[in-house]
Symmetry: C2
């Protein structure tokens, strides 16, 4: 059911634009124009109380007057009117809603009241709502741009979800310029309903989406988020920028000490456990997404760096080591081979400096040698403009090699430096799904993010499955222990209680019995068998050894 | 004298191109073409043993045949011929030489011998040589491009010195595309003569140069470098990327542990003491240089962030805190003022979120409030595309404000995000010397590099002057102490020796006398006056207290 309604939002056959307008410069105008101009194939119904036609489409005074069923209503009317509009939508059976309008809880108590009203109506009619206070959504493959932005990125395989509309639009603008393709763009706004977890679930099964990118400021339903992420991170990389490392609440402290707040560390750990890669900057988000869609995941941290100049090789090594990667130790066989084919003053080590006069054939031979070397997990190929400049031939020969030989399960990255000198070579790489970076440092950073993703995935696989129902621990005795503890206003279990609890979960524990008197203790001791340990049982004394309450290695009744 | 000869290289009236050629694709051709096509105003004499004319210029068989005096010889003949060519140059009184040819010590013992020969000739004739194995130099203001690269950047105020030719050419290619101007570009190559120290000295007094950027792999003459840098860093920012953080020698260890080698830490410390800013990446080099030429240095780490959207403000704060900066604590007066003029749901704190509907006047008013606030050292202004988009008006109003009000000694940075949305605004900022960045994180990084530069400068000023000669410590007694220590194969001074040494340098020390017997000790004690401390004197026992060899607070002979 949940997915069905999201499909109404993301794959609508008919859309009502409530607050449509033919007045240039308004949100309602920009929104309607995106529908009429992009070639969206579904039906579009502008709704405006004062109009009969908008941008060549028949307009309706209210959504209730539309004669046909509507999948998605996009609402851009003033905040005050929104609860009524949503209710009208609910009444006529519209299930998918995007509220672009702002002016809700972010503006104070009045707005908050409006928002609460919407939430009630939502429950009543079983609606799915994106927003409010959002940009809307874009699905380039459907020519669907339900935002007021005058930019539509090309179709691609990245789903991008942004909690900041402003940042989302800035990134979209940039992505259009960089020619990055999207399967989906969603600005989630205040998330009174549809949240990150829902969207991961939905895009996780969307065949057009190969990776999910998110800009997150805070997560509302952590359990749903984690469960969705853990489920899909195995098949689709999820990459996150989480802002607010230094939380508002600890802001003053953080700005003095620069220390991370606990909350952010929890995010860090949770992302890791869910298989999510957390990156530092927006640019990292796209660099990583591109590669994850193109290349085999790094098997390990050992990178071979092939370069036609010393300097960039050294810079790349600095970045690699600083960020926790390793220079691959070339096998003896590879070394012998390279010695036999390279000019005698090559670097004789990794980074493999194949010198300024290297042409396409030398690049190709050395890349192949690295593909053959078991010690190499990934290869970074650096080109700098030199007197003997044939970047295009070099790029072509590398593409040829990989087509013929395959990747041998290795990750290949390139950094062909300089602007004009490298432009055509970079185009060739992009067309052939070989990632390329302006600077070697970016390539290194991305390689290590990819490697981290791979390790996160391993971490997921290592996690044991949940216990089957019949092997689950008995509920009642455990509850009893807990109730007893809380009844006594304790926050810590006694040793006996804790061991008891662990035994119910089938953890092996040492045998422990609670004696009220010395005689009882002696009786229990012979029951367990010597040697025994005698401990004081007192919830007030947590560090029992320090208090002299533990006697080890007792072998007799004495 | 030194500077005079460098002027022959950097400001030549006449140039001989030795190894000039009219064969396309050769270094000699590219080099000659740069002289004929760019409009260099000095005289140019191609030298080629087999030609009488090259690219329309009369060619000479040898440099000796040129009828007029020559300031600079650019040599691009095969390595083997270079020593003879240099000698010819020396004989006819040419003092400035650039050796572009490669094939010297980097190729093995034969090449090394050639290089040594050149060094001898250099001494004999008092030559100044750049290279060998370099790209050459470029001075855009003179239309002088003495390299074989077919790119000439525009004239500007950055002097860029690169130890890697390949990286240098990549950066040049990129800089031309980014429209970055240079006063000088120098590829230093193997530095058999002219090195970083010489060039800092020269560019330090060059009126066209406002900042000096360097890509360094290793420094040959550290003392010269430090002295030059300390001298000029006060007036011209010197910014450095030093590659090889994890030195070749400690490579294996470094790749396992990721630890910095000692050598690199020495570079770090030395740069700091010389007032040099060390940055991580090439891009930082240019970002910093641009700002340092444009803006007042940050007075302190306290930044005000003005933004029309929450997200980027949070990302900027993350970057600021993570890198050691601080959010400026707005004064009560500023807070009251902002509360009175902003919509009531503004962020009510720094970052100052002035909301998505902010137009030019709101931006301007808030920037002005920050300029007025004594707690604010710098201001970062972030714009993201919003429904109400008037980036150009906003940019203009900020420029107006700063023209009218001045900077109030504060550093102003901008990040107008998105590509097309911000293009024109960014152009306006650039024209008015207000730095602008694609992402707020870059702005923050640059602000903090600038702040570091300022602190480095303070460090320079704090350093005491060298002692005047007549106040210098006596040389002989100090040498005697040292000789005595080394003669006994010790690496540590005894306490008495150390104190003795310190006294010679006028450090106040407690009175210490060495007693060989108990009687002597008693005698000395009364000489010094009670209370005294008795210590064991033994070079073998360094931690005397631990060994029981120290008795404090003795008040009598007993």
């Amino acid at each position: 059911m949940v997915t069905l309604h999201l499909a109404k939002i993301f794959n609508p056959k008919s859309v009502a634009i409530i607050g449509a307008s033919d007045e240039e410069g308004t949100v309602g105008y920009a929104l309607t124009k995106n529908f009429t101009e992009l070639g969206f194939e579904g039906k579009v119904y502008p709704v405006n109380i004062r109009k009969t036609e908008i941008l060549g489409l028949k307009a309706y005074q209210t959504v209730e007057q539309i004669p046909e069923p509507i999948d998605l209503a996009v609402i851009a009317t003033p905040a005050k009117t929104v609860p009524d509009v949503v209710e009208q939508c609910g009444k006529i059976g519209i299930k998918g809603i995007i509220i672009i309008s702002a002016g809700f809880k972010e503006t104070g108590p009045e707005g908050k009241a409006l928002e609460e009203k919407i939430t009630e109506i939502k429950k009543q009619y079983g609606l799915r709502i994106i927003g409010p206070n959002c940009l809307g959504i874009i699905r380039p493959s459907l020519r669907l741009n339900a935002t007021f932005m005058n930019k539509t990125p090309k179709s691609g395989n990245i789903a991008f979800i942004s909690q900041s509309g402003a940042l989302g639009s800035a990134i979209l603008d940039w992505a259009v310029h960089e020619n990055i393709g999207f399967s989906n763009f969603v600005s989630v706004g205040s998330m009174i309903d549809v949240d990150f977890g829902d969207l991961i679930d939905y895009f996780g099964t969307d065949p057009k989406t190969r990776s999910i990118l998110m800009y997150i400021e805070g997560i509302t339903d952590a359990r749903k988020f984690m469960s969705a992420a853990r489920h899909f991170a195995r098949t689709k990389p999820i990459i996150v920028v989480k802002a607010g490392k230094f939380s508002e609440s600890a802001k003053a402290a953080a700005s003095h000490t620069g220390s991370l707040t606990g909350e952010d560390m929890i995010y860090d750990a949770a992302f890791k456990r869910a298989g999510i890669v957390r990156v530092d900057e927006i640019a990292d988000l796209f660099n990583s997404a591109e590669v994850l869609g193109m290349q085999p995941l790094p098997r390990g941290p050992n990178l071979a760096i092939i370069t036609n100049a010393g300097g960039p090789g050294v810079m790349a090594t600095d970045a690699l080591i600083a960020k926790g990667g390793k220079l691959a130790k070339l096998s003896q066989k590879t070394m012998q081979y390279l010695n036999s084919i390279l000019p005698h003053y090559w670097s004789r080590d990794n980074p493999i400096d194949i010198l300024g006069d290297a042409k396409a054939d030398r690049f190709k031979t050395v890349v192949e040698a690295c593909l053959n070397d078991e010690n190499v997990d990934g290869v970074l190929i650096i080109y700098t403009p030199q007197a003997v400049a044939e970047p295009v031939e070099i790029a072509k020969s590398i593409v040829d090699l990989l087509k013929t030989r395959g990747y041998q399960n290795k990750t290949i990255l390139t950094s062909f430096m300089g602007h004009e000198a490298a432009e055509e070579a970079n185009r060739i790489f992009s067309q052939n799904s070989i990632p390329t970076y302006q600077a070697p440092e970016q390539a290194i950073k991305t390689y290590l993010y990819m490697y981290q993703y791979k390790r996160n995935l391993e971490l997921i696989y290592e996690t044991p499955e949940e216990l089957p129902v019949d092997a689950a621990p008995p509920k009642h005795p455990i509850m009893a222990i807990m109730r007893n503890t809380t009844a006594k206003n304790r926050e810590l279990l006694t040793e006996a209680e804790a061991k008891n609890l662990l035994e119910y979960y089938n953890f092996p524990v040492t045998k422990t019995l609670v004696a009220q008197t010395a005689e009882e203790a002696v009786a229990y001791a012979s029951q367990i068998g010597y040697p025994v340990v005698l401990k004081i049982l007192s919830p007030q004394i947590i560090h029992k050894t320090d208090a002299g309450g533990v006697i080890l290695d007792l072998n007799s009744e004495a």
